[in-house]
């Protein structure tokens, strides 16, 4: 396999590295770049715990080849604190105890960040729809929805 030299912006910093065609973005972020907030969950796009922002939109880093990131702007939870909503969400999640094990939290917070960037006044249904692809196996959805709702309302 011919390796590819790629460059992209990761949390505001330029990174360049060589990747093989079959390297998955999630594995490169975690294994080679030390970015541990996106987790390996289902590894097939269902659970949402590998969520990152690519060019401002949430995506499944388990479903992208690393080579596709060439030229992109990637933001993970580690670098999302410069975004307007992320820190407010994290504070609310902390206050509402909206984590149990925390495995889903990075993905949930990035999905909620994308939601509030698009629509700062979401309905309860909009919130549930926005995080429908982020599975919490501790079944802690109620405090999660409440935390996002309160972050939006600035309570």
């Amino acid at each position: 396999m011919k390796k590819h030299e790629i460059s992209f912006t990761l949390n505001g910093e330029k990174v360049s590295l060589e990747v093989a065609p079959n390297d998955v973005l999630l594995d490169v972020l975690r294994g080679r770049l030390g970015i541990k907030s996106p987790k390996v969950g289902c590894d097939r796009g269902d659970c949402g715990t590998c969520t990152v922002l690519m060019n401002g939109r949430t995506m499944r880093s388990c479903l992208a080849l690393a080579v596709e990131a060439d030229g992109a702007e990637i933001v993970t939870l580690e670098g999302a604190n410069t975004r307007k909503w992320t820190q407010r969400l994290q504070k609310k999640f902390h206050e509402k105890n909206a984590f149990q094990c925390g495995f889903c939290a990075p993905g949930v917070i990035l999905s909620a960040t994308e939601l509030l960037e698009k629509d700062p006044r979401p309905s309860a249904h909009d919130i549930k729809e926005a995080i429908a692809g982020n599975l919490c196996r501790c079944t802690g959805y109620e405090p999660i929805v409440a935390a996002i709702d309160e972050a939006a309302k600035g309570k």
Partner: protein, 297 residues
């Protein structure tokens, strides 16, 4: 999970170059757009290409444009792109409604309409909407362009009539000549991020003609001409709906799988036909639920 299969990756910027790669490698080349199906298939070994051709830098494959009474949806248009399109919402509301039911936001941000019909799973949510609108798939190869009606596109579960060496460049939908109301009714185990246990799309026109199509109720998504014939020319009421349900049962062939039994699907197909038609007729007259609401059975 790493991908164990080995392949080359190319990202052509020129259509001619891309078509030469597809022509040279034939079934050993796979097009990569959103990757939400392909990367899973690469991980599981269900796809074993020699070369993955990333089509995201090719010119002319993006954008949603209305021209001469036809809507052209480029092969790189994602489900998020469809949902955000005011034209799709206003002119092809059933496609808009169906797009909102596909997977979840993070997948819709990457997954394309063209990829959905190329994956050709029986439960493809976009397919019933494309079928009732009479969509055509635009296919390109070194031999030239051809147009495939969506009714001839699906060749079996996960199979299409796309030949080795060809790629999909766009999907085109003719604007219905008359005002319509419509609905895509999806049956799933829970609201949000589930594959359809069954799906029914319906269009209703003021001249009392109707169009019906289904997914996940047989090996391929399909129009249902017998159900349509039972309705055409008649007002939607208990009698015409009963006739349509009987006709529908004769043209669907659901299976039992992990998501539901055949019997449940046969029963719910009739329920959903009724709900889809009732919504479609209400919406035709400016009533009923707003598009995107109340369509998860």
């Amino acid at each position: 999970m790493p991908i164990t299969a080995e392949f080359e990756y190319v990202r052509p910027r020129d259509m001619d170059e891309a078509l030469h790669v597809f022509s040279l490698y034939k079934e050993k080349a796979r097009a990569l757009a959103g990757g939400t199906d392909l990367v899973v298939h690469l991980k599981e070994g269900a796809a074993r290409p020699e070369v993955v051709v990333d089509i995201k830098s090719l010119p002319g494959l993006g954008g949603i444009a209305m021209k001469g009474g036809r809507l052209r949806i480029g092969a790189l248009v994602t489900f998020a792109g469809l949902i955000e399109s005011a034209t799709v919402k206003a002119k092809f509301p059933v496609l808009w409604e169906a797009a909102r039911t596909v997977a979840s936001t993070g997948v819709r941000n990457r997954a394309t309409l063209a990829g959905n019909i190329c994956s050709a799973v029986p439960s493809a949510d976009s397919a019933p909407a494309l079928a009732v609108y009479g969509a055509e798939v635009l296919v390109l190869s070194l031999r030239g362009e051809r147009r495939v009606p969506i009714s001839e596109w699906f060749a079996g579960p996960k199979k299409t009539v796309l030949a080795p060496g060809e790629i999909v460049t766009a999907v085109e939908l003719p604007l219905p000549a008359a005002k319509h109301g419509g609905c895509y009714m999806k049956l799933s185990r829970y609201e949000g991020e589930d594959l359809a246990q069954g799906g029914v799309a319906a269009l209703a026109f003021a001249d009392r003609t109707y169009r019906v199509a289904v997914c996940a109720l047989g090996p391929v998504p399909r129009r249902c001409p017998a159900a349509e014939a039972a309705l055409n020319g008649r007002k939607l009421d208990a009698r015409s709906l009963a006739a349509a349900k009987t006709a529908l049962l004769a043209e669907i062939s659901p299976i039992s799988d992990v998501r539901s039994s055949k019997e449940y699907r046969l029963h719910m197909a009739q329920v959903m036909l009724g709900r889809a038609l009732e919504s479609a007729v209400s919406r035709l007259f400016g009533k009923g639920p707003r598009y995107g609401e109340g369509n998860i059975a």
